[in-house]
Subunit: 170 residues, 2 copies
């Protein structure tokens, strides 16, 4: 596994980008970048009594309005108890609305209220602003590569969720 001699060539293609050093750079890039990625929303949320978990819930409810709790659970990858605690406060604070399903009354369909949409926009704007700057700095080809690698890094089920969200809302 710990193969530092990956500077081989086969099939005519250089594999220099697969050295442990290259891989480690990618690992550290992910670590540092993710910090930046969450920094702006975190700052906004710190003032309110919300955290990153609330942001995630708000983001995906906005992204797929009417989604069920179970669906959201799968996307967020947390337990229903964890999610429920977050949803409870968001509903109590009037940011999220929970509507009993019409076809299946066990299900709860989640929607953002106007206040919820306002907060979503505020958080989203901050996060997008950073993304936009990064995209601009790196250029379109880099962005394409960025997405390719990230997608390849996901677990299979997360990748399905990602692609579904991406292609489901054109």
């Amino acid at each position: 596994m710990s193969d530092s001699r990956a500077a081989q060539v086969y099939g005519g293609e250089s594999l220099l980008f697969l050295t442990d050093e290259q891989l480690r750079q990618g690992i550290e890039a992910m670590f540092f970048a993710y910090r930046g990625f969450t920094a702006d929303p975190d700052r906004i949320l710190a003032d309110m009594s919300y955290g990153r978990a609330h942001h995630r819930a708000i983001h995906f409810i906005n992204r797929a309005p009417g989604t069920t709790v179970n669906n959201l659970l799968a996307i967020l990858g947390v337990t229903k108890q964890s999610l429920n605690r977050v949803l409870r406060t968001l509903i109590a604070d009037g940011l999220v609305e929970s509507r009993v399903g019409k076809l299946d009354k066990r299900e709860r369909h989640l929607h953002l209220t106007e206040a919820g949409q306002a907060l979503e926009a505020q958080l989203s704007d901050a996060q997008r602003a950073r993304m936009r700057t990064a995209y601009k700095e790196a250029g379109p080809e880099a962005v394409a590569g960025f997405k390719q690698v990230l997608e390849a890094m996901m677990d299979a089920d997360m990748r399905r969720a990602y692609v579904k969200l991406r292609d489901g809302t054109p």
Copy 2:
């Protein structure tokens, strides 16, 4: 801010990659990919009584052996109390060694013991394996773009830390 009409062209260059939809895809890609990124080490650590915080400490001590507590603090971006809790257990368990500085005796220089290096290798191998697969799947050009965008996404001081680690150990 929420400009959905970014499909403009100026200076002859398409800015289609800067639409809100494109940016949102990037945001979700980061979210889902980061989950995959941490999944393998998390699984390994779950069996022991360690968490992601221990992994981070071990990673950067391995990366910069002899680093001081203050230095590590800056890289990890946590409080000294938080880091201390983690370091204390790692030192107690014989994975990390803390040596009093020779020039400045206030400083503690951190090193991995053999056991620490073994765990680091185990965690690192798992994480690199995933990176390697992703890199292979996406190809060298995508990897270059991936790193460019991530670097552009970092806060200025994190970017400095990243570059320093990257270029300091060639």
